[in-house]
């Protein structure tokens, strides 16, 4: 399973609602006809997801463009 976020990127972030730490957990991301399991940081209590800017603007954008041209 792919892991695109390093611990360094989320170590300072906590869930503001639950005041809980984040942990890497399997999450399904999908676009158009494809879906992929990836490890993303989520709130240990409520499951709120954290996606850093680098992931959104690089890897996710790259996959979106590849899926769109299929």
């Amino acid at each position: 399973m792919a892991q695109y976020v390093t611990e360094e990127e989320f170590v300072h972030w906590r869930c503001a609602k639950c005041n809980s730490e984040l942990e890497l957990r399997k999450v399904v991301v999908s676009y158009l006809d494809g879906s992929f399991p990836v490890e993303l940081p989520v709130c240990k209590v409520c499951g709120q997801i954290f996606i850093p800017e680098s992931l959104a603007t690089q890897k996710m954008l790259e996959i979106e463009q590849q899926m769109e041209d299929k």
């Binding site: 300072h12 906590r14 503001a16 999450v27 999908s30 954290f50």
Partner: protein, 619 residues
Amino acid sequence: MRAFNEEILPSAEIENAIRLLEKIGVKIQTGFKLPQFEELSHNDSRLFRIGDSEFQCIYLPHLSEELSIDPITRMTVTEGIFSGSAPVGHWVDQMSDGRRAAISMDRYLQKVSLTASRENEGAYECRLFTSLKGIQPSQSFISTDSKRTDQADIIKEAARCIQCQCMECAKGCELIRHYQDSPRTYVRQIYNNISICTGLRQKNKMINSCSICGQCEAICPNHIPFQKVVQEARETMVATKKMPPSAFDFALRDMAFSNSEKFRLAKVPVDSKACKYAFFPGCQLPASNPSSIETIFSWLQNEMEEPVGILLRCCGAIADWAGEKEKFNQARSELLSDWEVLGKPELIVSCPTCLKMFRENYPEINVRSIWPLMAKSDSLLNGKNRLNSIKMAIHDPCASRDQPDMQEAVRSLAMKLGIELEELPYNRELATCCSYGGNVWNSNPSLSRDTNEARISQNQSDYLTYCIMCRDFFLRSGKPAYHILDILFDPKLMIEHRLPIRPDYSMRHENRTRVKRHLLKQYWREEMPEEAPYEDIQLILNDPIRKLMEDRMILEEDIRQVLYYAKESGRAMINQETGHYLAHFKPSCVTYWVEYLPKEDGFEVFNVYSHRMVVEEGN
């Protein structure tokens, strides 16, 4: 062949050629004494016998001119016997004979048509246009007497070749130059791109980067309507669900905004049930120059002898360019309903694209351009807006291409304002697009910038235009550019060497709403419909964040929705080092992320980004 001088045809080349033939299974037998044509005839097995061997077909060297040889297939009157008619010593013609006959013999053995698709063999008149502009005439270096031309002269002769090719359209179009080929190739690539069943559609980006302006067709000596191919390709992609969803999404949402209650308006003058005329400013002039709308509306009410209403919304061009037929038809039908409410007035239109769209897609509606009206009016030119011979280069918007009256009227108005006009290359019927056309600014921002860079480098003077998007794209690239209304209504801009304000995407929305709010209040004493609760949220945005929002096509209203959601749900992350919050929300197909800090007077924003991928999330 071995009889040729070694210098002309080296024997090593002959050996190489023979080896190649043997490699593909050709058996070479020599020593035949070829019979005369008259001696050859089919035997019972439809074969020709020469010595001990039998052949299905035969090529005989040059035959008597009296014998009839088909000029296309090179087959003689005897089926299966092929030959050439080129005189001895005419090598090029002999090679042509041989090649044509070889193609025919191959087809003959395969029992397929000898004549199909053979139009372009040998010498033929092609449609290739080659511009001879700038090419000096020169004499041939090949001697006409019997002396052999020496090597130096042969090299000089070869250097006379101008390598004929037609790239006239590429000279005016950044897209054609960018992909480094010609529309002829692109058409084939587009066909392949929309026909494939699996694999990558590698030309999506190219298809979605054309401004559909028609300049290439206007330039093309063969009038290839490339923009129509692109338009149809986009429509096919949408119909077959192969259009990349992100390609024109931002532009389409801009159109949806223009056709929402935030801007849409259809009003007849107070005390009138219908109007004979209505002003239709389009969607982007109110976005860029909101104050001009009331000025024109008020002027028209005095200028026209009959009641003038107003119709605010998008003409549908954005959906049309995106290949979204369904969305275009919906926009068209809504516009027609609003127009009927006004009493089917004649529309007075300021935007060249809207006017083109109306003329091509709304046969029910009478339309006229505002520019000839303005050029003829005395009331607009009051002496205060007369400039003292200012030099400007006029840029015709691409949508004015087939509207010479409009082009003339704007020139006449500019001259009355005291502007000395310089013509740019690619004006009038060859007008070039600023990249707003075809929604290229959305689908290919870097090509959009290259297009503007190329255009603004063509003249040192400030640019004058009559499409507000042309003005804004030139301003974005750092070129001093003015819409003629900027000068007509605010001549001090030019006198004081100030530039018009180019609003960002969020401001373009805000300005449209302001126009509607102001007109409703000023002319009808009405208020705007109620605002959504998130619209009250105050944002604190510095210039780098505004620039980031512009680059990433994220609007203030997107940010407000994220913050409102975070406030209502309590869902956000907090950074223990900076104290910043990070929240996300997906109002439609894009998820927006905002890093922020609540302050007394609003929310200070530190970062914004988005993605389209959908992430499954716990509650």
